[in-house]
């Protein structure tokens, strides 16, 4: 389940990356560039800033979703202020759905703040995917899972997004516990940057999300074709490692 930043490093490249994902991903996590992404580490933060600088907007993300949404499920990664801005969650949900999205992850909308947005999304038929962190107490995790739509996103490490040399030893336990709580699939993201790490996580989780590593690849490629090629080959390698 690869992540990409809409409009990064430019419209053409991100469209090419989306095409590559549509061919080989099980689900695409589509980042909407935001000015103040608090859950993101340096790579994705810089990508958001760069995307905004070349004029990317929510509209850019919606267009990319339209391009690939019929071939692969698309879930937006979008910050709360953009969901709540102009018109509120119903308007956002309707626009996302019209573009063919399956759901959205709102990384700064924890359980207590989510009810109104979840209701609006439910009414429109868009899944609000919640997050569980290593710091989430067990009782709270169960409540989060009970309100989950689509899947549950397990944050692998205490921290922001970004590649890491090692994943925490307690991760497998967290994934298993979340699977027990959840009736929907459980995917894991944050810090997974190699096919080997993906395979390790994939042995326990239902889905593996790779973000910063692929954003970096798209940014370093130099052209739209090279970006598509770089992320495509990473995805193929990861599939082999995952044995899927």
């Amino acid at each position: 389940m690869p992540y990409m930043m809409a409009g990064y490093p430019d419209w053409e490249s991100s469209s090419a990356v989306a095409e590559a994902y549509a061919e080989s991903a099980d689900l695409v996590e589509l980042g909407v560039p935001f000015s103040d992404p608090l859950a993101d580490g340096p790579t994705i933060h810089a990508a958001a800033t760069a995307a905004l600088a070349v004029g990317a907007t929510l509209e850019t993300a919606l267009e990319i979703c339209e391009e690939i949404g019929e071939r692969v499920p698309v879930v937006f990664m979008v910050y709360a202020n953009m969901v709540l801005a102009h018109g509120g969650a119903d308007v956002f949900a309707r626009r996302a759905l019209a573009a063919g999205a399956a759901g959205a992850i709102v990384p700064d909308l924890p359980l207590e703040e989510a009810e109104g947005v979840r209701t609006a999304f439910d009414d429109a038929g868009l899944a609000l995917v919640p997050l569980v962190a290593p710091t989430t107490p067990a009782e709270r995790r169960a409540r989060i899972c009970a309100a989950a739509r689509g899947f549950v996103y397990v944050v692998s490490t205490v921290g922001t997004t970004g590649e890491r040399d090692e994943l925490p030893a307690e991760l497998a336990g967290l994934i298993s516990a979340t699977k027990e709580d959840a009736e929907v699939p459980v995917a894991v993201g944050f810090g997974i940057g190699t096919p080997g790490q993906a395979a390790e996580v994939g042995r326990v989780a239902d889905g593996v999300i790779v973000g910063s590593r692929l954003v970096r690849a798209a940014g370093e490629a130099g052209s739209a074709d090279a970006a598509a090629e770089a992320v495509g080959s990473f995805l193929r390698e990861t599939r082999v490692a995952l044995g899927s």
Binding site: S35, H86, P110
Partner: protein, 393 residues
């Protein structure tokens, strides 16, 4: 034990990554307990008196009164240790961090006053201190950067965006997300996710409690107006809170109009903002239609912020407080004016409140104005603008 408020009308809340929720719960519980614990209160009161130098005076500014045609008292937070009200919050939160067993403290700073205050409190309690500061603010508030170094804090420059306060807060929150188990984040204003806005207000309300008592003692009646500058809103909420139930007292907040409210270079989050989420709470923010947060602008680093504490958004909507804005130029001239009239060099932030007063004098009753800090840190910036010598005088 009463719970710490999370919402002020529709505003406030906790719009942060899930990773932080457990820490915010822990902090809220710790504060609900500490604020009612006689031992904690006694320790804080002793520190107020012996370390910060409280109560700060309520000073009858005679020449300023003459100039404005009404009686004006200045609440002298500039005389608090480290030179601004920020120390009230920093000492309280660092004491709380120590009580919670957190060995490491982080903070953001704009004008450098909150960074200096936090570095000071950490030196006092022997805690590790890391301060995030935008590189533009490092440039314009140099003396405070040096003070933080002397106090043993590490200052981390932040190069994102406009390199000012907004980005420094974001960087501090990211650090907190990664180190939440060992670290307490001492946020510098009445902003951020719950319980911070209420926690900071509780720690700053000492300004208003003292001022109310001092004003009654001096005049035998309540002031007709209480005036304070508004960046994130901590000195203002601190002085407003004890007066909120005094229906006859007008509460006036003064924001930064920067280069003018008709330009896009200002910091008037309440006057020109819209409802939105920034740094973990729903409040009034300067954002575009899509929800992207815009850069603020103010000559004063402490008001150069596109958000504001959620309780102010609530006070604005309810009509209990009124908010106005003054420009960079007006603040600069008030800076010189107060220096010459009273022998008090005010912080550029506080100069905004003075500037509003200078334009709104006369009439019955008297005023209490929060002089939130002293202006030593601003000299280089003011002189660079060529305004130090005589613009206002």
């Amino acid at each position: 034990m009463s719970a710490v408020e999370e919402r002020f009308g529709p505003y406030g809340g906790r719009y942060v990554p899930e990773t932080l929720i457990a820490a915010l719960d822990e902090l809220a519980a710790a504060w609900a307990e500490a604020r009612e614990d006689p031992e904690f209160r006694e320790r804080l009161a002793t520190l107020h008196r012996d370390f910060i130098g409280r109560p700060t005076p309520l000073y009858l500014a005679e020449r300023l009164s003459e100039k404005t045609g009404r009686t004006v008292y200045l609440k002298r937070e500039d005389l608090a240790h480290t030179g601004a009200h920020k120390i009230n919050n920093a000492v309280g939160q660092v004491l709380l961090a120590q009580r919670m067993g957190k060995p490491r403290v982080i903070a953001e700073t704009g004008a450098g006053q909150h960074g200096v205050a936090t570095a000071t409190a950490c030196a006092l309690f022997g805690l590790e201190c890391v301060v995030y500061m935008g590189s533009e603010d490092i440039r314009r508030q140099r003396p405070n950067v040096e003070r933080m170094g002397l106090l043993g804090a590490e200052v981390v420059p932040v190069d994102a965006g406009a390199r000012t306060l907004k980005e420094a807060v974001s960087a501090a929150i990211r650090d907190w997300v990664a180190n939440v188990e060992t670290t307490h984040y001492v946020i510098g204003s009445a902003v951020g996710p719950a319980p911070f806005p209420a926690l900071v207000r509780d720690l700053q309300r000492v300004i208003g409690e003292e001022a109310r008592e001092q004003a009654l003692a001096a005049e035998g009646s309540l002031p007709s107006r209480v005036i304070a500058c508004v960046g994130g809103g901590s000195n203002s909420i601190g002085i407003f809170t004890p007066f909120v139930d005094d229906a006859g007292v007008e509460l006036i907040g003064v924001e930064a109009a920067g280069e003018g409210l008709d330009t896009d270079r200002h910091g008037a989050s309440l006057g020109k903002g819209s409802t939105g989420v920034l740094h973990g709470s729903l409040s009034s923010v300067i954002a575009d239609e899509e929800g992207q947060i815009l850069e603020a602008h103010s000559i004063s680093a402490g008001l150069d912020y596109p958000g504001v504490g959620p309780e102010h958004a609530f006070l604005r909507d309810s009509g209990r407080a009124s908010y106005f804005a003054v420009t960079d130029a007006q603040a600069l001239s008030a800076f010189s004016e107060l220096s010459r009239l009273e022998g008090i060099i005010p912080a550029l932030e506080s100069s905004h409140a003075i500037a509003w007063l200078l334009e709104n004098g006369g009439g019955a009753g008297y005023d209490v104005l929060c002089l939130s800090g002293r202006g030593d840190k601003d000299l280089a910036e003011v002189i660079e603008r060529g305004a130090g010598g005589g613009a206002g005088g």
